[in-house]
C-alpha cells in the first residue's frame, strides 16, 4: 500500500489515507480472511466427511468377497441347496394352512356351523395337511446333520483366521516367541468337505422318496367341505407339481458344485446392490443385500409424497392465489410451524396415536374398499408415510409458494383481462409457469423424507424383508425397514471395522448418493425450465 508522507500543506484533493495495519494486515484483509476462513472450514469438513464415508465403506466389498468365499469353501452354499428345497416346501404348507383358515371362515360364517362342527368337517383335510407337512421330515433331518458339519467347518476357519490376526499383531509388536507359540492349523477344505460330499447319495435317495410321497399325496387330495375353495386346492396341486419338477435341477446343481470355484469380484457388488436379504449376526450365513432397505425407504417416501404433494402444493396455491391477506398471515406460519416438531415427537405420536387410529379405521367395514384394509400390523409403511408427509409438507409448501410467487403478476392480470376465471388462471397460467419450481419443491421434499430417520425407525415396523408387491397397492400396509433406520439401529452394536460395520457405511453411502442425486435433479430442473420473463 502507499505510504503517504504527511505533506506540509493539505492537498486540495485529499483522497489518500493512511491504513491501519495489524501484523501487516489491513482491516479489509482481516475481514476477508475471517469470512474466507469460515467458508474454507465448511468445505474442509464436507471433504473430510466424504472421504471418511468412502474410506470406511469401501473396505466392505473386499470383506464381503471373503464372506462369500467362505460361504462356498465351507460348504454352506452346498447345504443351502437342500435348505431352499425345504423352505419351498414350508411355503407350500403355509399355503395349505391358509386354505384351511379360509374354509373354517366359510363354514362358520356362511354355513353357520359351530367351531366344533367345522373342525370335524375339516378332519380329512387336516389329516392330509399333516401328511403333506410330514413328508419333508427325513430331508430336514439330513439337512440338519449337514448344517452342523458345515457350521463346524466355518467356525474352524474363523478360528484360524483369528489366530492369524493374533500372530500378525504379536509379530508387529515384536513378540516373536509368543507369535510362534500361536498354533495355526491350516484348514484343508478338500478333506473337511468329504463327509459333506459323501452325503450326496443319501440326499438323492431321501429326496426321491420325498418326491414319491408327495406324488402319492397329490393323487389322494381330500374332498373340501367348501367348494368355493376348489380353485385354491388346484392351485396348490399345480404349485406342488412345479416344485417337484425342480428337483432334478437341484440334484444336478449339487453334483456340479465345486468348492474351489472362485467368487468373481463383481459378485461382491451385485450381492450387495441386488441382494434380497439383510441378515446379520446369523448362526449360519450373513447376507448384506440392500434391496429390502432401499425398497423400504423408497416405498415409505413415495407414500409420504402421495400425501404431501397434494397437501403442500394445494396449500401453496391457496395461500398464494386465493387467500386473503388475513388468511395468509394465519396459514403460512402454521404450516411453517410444523417443521418445529422434533421428528422423535412425531414418531412417538405415530406409535401412540396414528398407528392405532389407522388400524382401527382399517377395521371399519365400510372402508374395506381401500386397498390393504383391513390390516393388523400397527406400524407399517402407511403409518410412517403419513408422518413423513407431515415432515415434507412445510418444505414443499414453502418452496412451491416461492415458485408461485415468482410468477409475474402480469401473467395473472393478462389472463383475467381475457375473461379467465380464477380457477382457469391458476390451472392454465400460474401452475404451468411455476411448474419447474413446484417439481423441484417436490424433489427437495423427497430428499427431506428419504433422509429422515427417527420417524421411520419408530413407525415403519422394522421388518427386514421385501414387501409383497403381488397384492398391488395393499403393499403399503406392510412393515418395512429403511436405510436410515438400519444405520441408526445397528451402528451402536457393531464391532468397529467388522464387515457389518462397513456394510452400514455403504448403506450410508447409498443414501448420500441418493440425496445428492435428488438435490442435483431439483437444481437442474429449476435452471433448465426457469421461465425467462420479458
Amino acid at each position: 500500500m502507499i505510504e503517504t508522507s504527511s505533506p506540509p500543506v493539505a492537498p486540495v484533493f485529499a483522497v489518500k489515507k493512511r491504513r491501519l495495519r495489524f501484523l501487516g494486515l489491513t482491516v479489509d484483509d482481516t475481514i476477508r480472511a475471517f469470512f474466507g476462513g469460515n467458508a474454507l472450514v465448511a468445505v474442509i469438513v464436507l471433504a473430510l466427511i466424504t472421504v471418511f464415508l468412502f474410506r470406511e465403506g469401501f473396505g466392505f466389498f473386499a470383506q464381503n468377497r471373503t464372506n462369500l468365499e467362505v460361504y462356498r469353501r465351507a460348504g454352506l452354499e452346498y447345504v443351502d441347496f437342500i435348505r431352499r428345497q425345504t423352505d419351498d416346501h414350508t411355503a407350500l404348507t403355509r399355503y395349505l394352512s391358509d386354505v384351511r383358515l379360509r374354509q373354517l371362515k366359510l363354514l362358520t360364517e356362511q354355513e353357520k356351523k359351530s367351531l366344533d362342527e367345522a373342525n370335524a368337517a375339516l378332519a380329512p383335510f387336516d389329516a392330509f395337511a399333516e401328511q403333506f407337512s410330514a413328508t419333508v421330515d427325513p430331508l430336514r433331518a439330513l439337512m440338519a446333520e449337514l448344517t452342523e458339519q458345515a457350521t463346524a467347518l466355518k467356525t474352524k476357519f474363523a478360528v484360524t483366521e483369528d489366530r492369524k490376526v493374533e500372530r500378525h499383531q504379536l509379530l508387529a509388536e515384536g513378540k516373536t516367541a509368543e507369535a510362534t507359540a500361536v498354533k495355526i492349523d491350516a484348514v484343508d477344505f478338500a478333506t473337511e468337505l468329504l463327509p459333506l460330499r459323501a452325503a450326496l447319495p443319501a440326499y438323492k435317495e431321501t429326496s426321491r422318496e420325498f418326491s414319491r410321497k408327495l406324488v402319492t399325496l397329490l393323487d389322494a387330495t381330500p374332498v373340501l367341505p367348501a367348494a368355493e375353495l376348489l380353485p385354491r386346492m388346484e392351485r396348490l396341486k399345480q404349485l406342488t407339481r412345479d416344485y417337484l419338477a425342480g428337483f432334478p435341477a437341484i440334484e444336478q446343481a449339487m453334483e456340479a458344485w465345486d468348492y474351489k470355484e472362485p467368487v468373481p469380484a463383481w459378485q461382491t457388488f451385485t450381492s450387495f446392490l441386488f441382494g434380497r436379504q439383510w441378515l446379520t449376526a446369523s448362526f449360519w450365513q450373513d447376507w448384506y443385500g440392500i434391496l429390502p432397505l432401499l425398497i423400504g425407504s423408497l416405498l415409505v417416501s413415495l407414500v409420504a409424497l402421495a400425501f404431501a404433494v397434494p397437501l403442500g402444493v394445494g396449500a401453496a396455491i391457496y395461500v398464494n392465489q386465493i387467500a386473503s391477506v388475513r388468511e395468509q398471515k394465519l396459514i403460512k406460519p402454521c404450516i411453517e410451524f410444523i417443521s418445529a416438531f422434533p421428528s422423535v415427537v412425531l414418531g412417538f405420536f405415530g406409535i401412540a396415536v396414528l398407528g392405532q387410529a389407522l388400524r382401527a379405521a382399517s377395521q371399519i367395514s365400510w372402508l374395506s374398499w381401500v386397498p390393504g384394509f383391513p390390516y393388523s400390523e400397527r406400524l407399517n409403511i402407511l403409518t410412517a408415510g403419513c408422518l413423513l408427509a407431515v415432515i415434507a409438507v412445510p418444505t414443499i409448501f414453502t418452496l412451491a409458494e416461492d415458485a408461485l410467487n415468482n410468477v409475474p403478476r402480469a401473467f395473472k392480470e393478462a389472463s383475467y383481462a381475457l375473461g379467465a376465471s380464477r380457477l382457469q388462471t391458476i390451472l392454465r397460467i400460474i401452475v404451468p409457469a411455476s411448474l419447474s419450481g413446484i417439481i423441484s419443491a417436490v424433489l427437495l421434499g423427497l430428499g427431506r423424507v428419504v433422509g429422515e430417520t427417527m420417524v421411520v425407525l419408530l413407525c415403519a415396523g422394522n421388518r427386514i424383508a421385501i414387501p409383497d408387491f403381488t397384492q398391488g397397492l395393499s403393499v403399503v400396509t406392510e412393515p418395512v425397514h429403511t436405510m436410515t433406520g438400519i444405520i441408526a439401529q445397528e451402528m451402536g452394536e457393531v464391532v468397529r471395522g467388522s464387515i457389518h460395520y462397513r456394510a452400514l457405511f455403504v448403506v450410508g453411502l447409498v443414501l448420500f448418493v441418493l440425496s445428492l442425486l435428488i438435490n442435483f435433479l431439483a437444481q437442474k430442473i429449476v435452471r433448465r425450465y426457469r421461465i425467462s420473463i420479458g
Binding site: 409475474p408 401473467f411 383481462a417 381475457l418 375473461g419 379467465a420 392454465r428 421461465i531 420479458g534
Partner: protein
C-alpha cells in the same frame, strides 16, 4: 392542491342537478357518473363524470398518480384484484348497464372489455396459444376456427407477416414491440367491444411505438379504444377525444384538437405545453 377555476367548480356543481348528464350523448358507450374510488383509505378518484363515445379513440392524460390508470382499470374491474379497493360513489355504465351491480359477471364483462398493459405480458406459451387462450377459456376447440382467428387477429395487429412462419414458437422470443402487438392481437381475438390500453408504448422504442400507433388508427373503426398515455404527442397524434386528469380529478375533457390548441383550463394549458407534470 388543485386550484380549481370558478368555471370548473360551477360545472361540477351543476352536473348532478341536470336530469340527464350532459355527457350522455347519442354515441356514448361508457358513461362514468360521479365516481369516487378508494384504495383502502386513500381516495384515488374524486367525482369523475365522463362519457366515452363509441368507435373513437379517447386518451387519458395527466401526470403520474393522477388516477388515469385507476379509472381505466375500473372499466373492466381489474381493480377487483387488489384487496381493499372500492367504488364508493357513482356509477359506471357500459351500454347502459351498471358494471358494478352485484349480478354482473366479471368474466363476461372482461370478455367484452379487453385490455393491453403497460409492460407487454405474453404468456410463456407459443404465439398460437397466446392468441387462442381467450377462446379456449370459452371452451372453443375447433381447430379450423382457431386457426382462422389466429390469422385474423395477427393481421389485425399487423404482426402476421412477421410471425406467420413461427406461430408455434414461444411468444417470449419476440422483440418488445412485437410482444406488445401480440398482446393486442390476443386482446382482439376475443372480439371485445372496448379495448383499454394502459400506456402501451411506454416500454417501446420510437419505431415500435410508431407501429403500435399506426395499429391504433386501424383498429378505431372496429373498436372503442381508451388509451392512457404519458406521451402528449401520442395523445395528440392518435386520439379523437382527450381527458386531462390531475390529482384524482377530471380537469378538462374535450376534442383532442381543442385540448392541445385551445384548452379551456389554465392547468391543462400548463400541462400540455410542458410547463409542469
Amino acid at each position: 392542491m388543485v386550484i380549481a377555476t370558478p368555471e370548473i367548480m360551477e360545472t361540477r356543481r351543476a352536473a348532478p342537478a341536470s336530469a340527464s348528464p350532459p355527457s350522455a350523448g347519442k354515441d356514448t358507450i361508457v358513461d362514468i357518473d360521479h365516481v369516487d374510488f378508494f384504495y383502502g383509505a386513500t381516495q384515488a378518484l374524486n367525482d369523475i363524470t365522463l362519457a366515452i363515445e363509441a368507435k373513437k379513440v379517447t386518451a387519458f392524460i395527466g401526470p403520474s398518480g393522477c388516477g388515469k390508470s385507476t379509472l381505466l382499470r375500473c372499466l373492466n374491474r381489474m381493480n377487483d384484484l387488489i384487496e381493499g379497493t372500492r367504488v364508493a360513489r357513482g356509477t359506471i355504465k357500459i351500454h347502459g348497464v351498471d358494471i358494478y351491480e352485484p349480478d354482473v359477471d366479471v368474466i363476461e364483462l372482461r370478455k367484452r372489455v379487453g385490455m393491453v398493459f403497460q409492460k407487454s405480458n405474453p404468456f410463456p406459451k407459443s404465439i398460437y396459444e397466446n392468441i387462442t387462450y381467450g377462446l379456449r377459456l370459452q371452451g372453443r376447440s375447433d381447430k379450423a376456427k382457431l386457426d382462422e382467428v389466429v390469422e385474423k387477429s395477427l393481421r389485425g395487429a399487423a404482426l402476421w407477416d412477421e410471425v406467420k412462419d413461427r406461430l408455434h414458437a414461444s411468444g417470449l422470443g419476440l422483440s418488445g414491440g412485437q410482444q406488445q402487438r401480440l398482446c393486442i392481437a390476443r386482446a382482439i381475438a376475443v372480439e371485445p367491444q372496448i379495448i383499454l390500453m394502459d400506456e402501451p408504448c411506454s416500454a417501446l422504442d420510437p419505431v415500435a411505438t410508431a407501429k403500435v400507433e399506426e395499429l391504433i388508427q386501424e383498429l378505431r373503426s372496429r373498436f372503442t379504444i381508451i388509451i392512457v398515455t404519458h406521451n402528449m404527442q401520442q395523445a395528440a397524434r392518435c386520439s379523437d377525444r382527450t381527458a386531462f386528469f390531475y390529482l384524482g380529478r377530471l380537469i378538462e375533457y374535450a376534442d383532442t384538437r381543442n385540448i392541445f390548441t385551445n384548452p379551456a383550463n389554465p392547468q391543462t394549458e400548463a400541462y400540455v405545453s410542458g410547463r409542469f407534470g
